[in-house]
């Protein structure tokens, strides 16, 4: 998606002139569709969908208590089903069709006017329907990520309403600003695969949600230890592999930039896992499996905005910094401010997203992504990245709060105390693991 901003700049003029799309297919150019790019992007789309189901569903549900496993999986499933429909209904169109600074248009609502061979100018070598599907999987996982911070206590009906509102008012505008030729992309903010749009927005949204919802009963006094970390390890493996599609696919083509992104991604995951494990080994005498998988996901989340702009060895450095920063956030920071971010969405994705955005500003390499960062003498990029972070923190944080308040006018956000103690599986879904 980083390719978007540069391509968008070239395309902005002709599209702006021919802005009478209501009757004609907007981007109908059939000549450039590449079989190779299409094949890779179909695979990448499947990989990113796999990150949510079953990747994130396993990762999250392995870390909650046994009585909440199914309810946690239900949140990932709900995100897939609801967001897919909303994406087709209006999300895709508002994000990727039209290039207003704040929002796209509704010209493609319910895919109106999308043709078999049409393309989106952001990805001219693959069918527009594939571009739409690929971007759909990002919206899905972002909404599903937020659920981790309110795990163990959110009412399912409230979660569904929150997901719809959060998608409409946080994800859609933000994705347009960064990737859809909105003002952040035009400013030159580098976010290859979603450091702002996915990780920071979900992370800060999760933090606000955790604060608004309050801590779980027994937090700090009772044993809330994970049900089955082996599920979380399996989930991490699926996320890790899926991330090749997430970051590699963000090149929107089967090219060497995609491979470069995948290389940096894999190395960052490895370095993150090693770093988190090593820190635990040093200060707690034992490297935990939860620590290693947390470090891997931290590395993956942190390299996300930078992949496609940095060299492979930068991935290792970014992974080490990611493992350290996110470890600090999940241990010290969380206790210092006493918030109950159940599955550390802010600690891993929020802090990782911010760190990755800044490191993209440091390590961006012109020969890879066409943009120079601090190391190549372009200190200004760091400032641009920082402004992207500030906008995302403010927008996602503030609007998440408003959406939660709106939902709570209709239905209580939390389940009752009895239901929480009994478990969400039985109280929300009428089933339970035996």
């Amino acid at each position: 998606m980083g390719a978007l901003s540069s391509r968008a700049a070239k395309l902005a003029a002709p599209i702006g002139v021919a802005a009478t799309w209501l009757t004609t297919p907007a981007f109908a150019t059939t000549s450039d569709i590449s079989a190779a790019d299409t094949a890779w992007m179909m695979v990448a789309t499947a990989l990113v969908l796999m990150m949510t189901i079953p990747g994130l569903a396993l990762f999250y549900s392995g870390m909650v208590r046994k009585k909440n496993v199914l309810a946690t999986m239900a949140q990932s499933l709900a995100a897939v089903t609801i967001i897919s429909i909303l994406w087709v209904a209006f999300g895709y169109s508002l994000v990727f069709v039209g290039d207003g600074p704040l929002l796209g248009t509704l010209d493609r609502w319910f895919l109106a006017g999308m043709t078999m061979d049409g393309v989106n100018p952001a990805a001219k070598t693959i069918p527009e329907s594939l571009f739409m599907l690929y971007q759909m999987t990002f919206a899905i996982i972002t909404v599903a990520l937020v659920a981790g911070s309110v795990a163990d206590r959110m009412r399912f009906s409230a979660y569904l309403m929150f997901s719809v509102g959060w998608f409409m008012f946080v994800y859609v505008p933000l994705a347009h600003w960064v990737w859809g030729r909105g003002f952040l992309g035009t400013m030159g903010v580098l976010d290859f695969a979603g450091g702002l749009v996915v990780h920071l927005s979900a992370g800060i949204g999760g933090l606000v949600a955790a604060k608004v919802m309050g801590r779980r009963y027994g937090y700090g006094t009772e044993n809330l230890s994970p049900f089955d970390l082996s599920l979380a390890v399996a989930g991490t493996g699926l996320l890790w592999v899926g991330w090749f599609g997430f970051n590699g696919g963000s090149a929107l083509a089967a090219n060497s930039r995609a491979v470069m992104a995948i290389t940096a991604t894999h190395l960052a995951a490895c370095a993150g896992a090693l770093t988190w494990g090593a820190i635990e080994w040093t200060i707690r005498c034992k490297p935990s499996v939860l620590g290693m998988i947390s470090g891997a996901v931290a590395g993956l989340g942190t390299i996300t905005p930078a992949s496609g702009f940095v060299a492979p060895w930068h991935g290792i450095v970014i992974g080490v910094i990611a493992g350290s920063m996110c470890f600090w956030a999940c241990t010290w920071l969380k206790h210092r401010f006493k918030y109950d971010d159940s599955l550390d969405v802010f600690g891993v994705h929020g802090v990782g997203g911010m760190t990755g955005m800044l490191l993209a500003g440091v390590f961006a390499t012109a020969s890879i992504g066409g943009t120079s960062g601090l190391i190549e003498g372009n200190a200004g990029l760091l400032l641009v990245q920082l402004s992207g972070i500030v906008v995302t923190l403010a927008w996602s944080g503030g609007v998440t709060y408003l959406v939660l308040k709106l939902v709570s006018a209709f239905v209580p956000l939390r389940v009752s105390r009895e239901q929480e103690l009994e478990g969400l599986d039985i109280s929300q879904h009428g089933e339970a693991l035996q």
Partner: protein, 130 residues
């Protein structure tokens, strides 16, 4: 066709042999050694239960990212065997030697008298029922 049930012997074994119930709490991974040792001295059956508890070993601390939990109750196995009184000391000896690691948390053994025993299938009592 209704079958006539055989009359059960009377369930009072005061003329029977005296018996002991040996209850041992052991580390779970020692079960097989204990079972083999007991079989070798002629103990023909046992009941085991997965239990949790603590004694001098206390619990341990588990750390999940930033969260530390003190786990007071550790998993153990509870073995119950019923033996003729003259075999009880021997049984206690072999359980002790086979379940022992020398580390804290090896477990405990309790011996209590049994008033009566009865095999449900045949109605045999006391010594005959073991």
């Amino acid at each position: 066709m209704k079958r006539t049930e055989p009359a059960l012997p009377k369930i009072i074994g005061n003329e029977g042999l005296t018996m002991k119930l040996v209850v041992a709490i052991i580390k779970p991974f020692k079960l097989d050694e204990v079972r083999q040792a007991l079989t070798a001295i002629g103990v023909t059956g046992m009941t085991i239960t997965e239990v949790k508890g603590y004694g001098r070993q206390k619990g341990h601390t588990e750390i999940y990212r930033g969260a530390e939990y003190v786990v007071n109750f550790l998993p153990k196995l509870r073995i119950e065997i019923a033996v003729p009184s003259n075999l009880a000391d021997k049984a206690v000896d072999v359980i002790t030697s086979s379940a022992r690691t020398g580390q804290i948390g090896d477990g405990k053994i309790f011996v209590t008298p049994i008033d009566h025993a009865l095999r449900i299938r045949t109605g045999e009592t006391d010594g005959d029922a073991l």
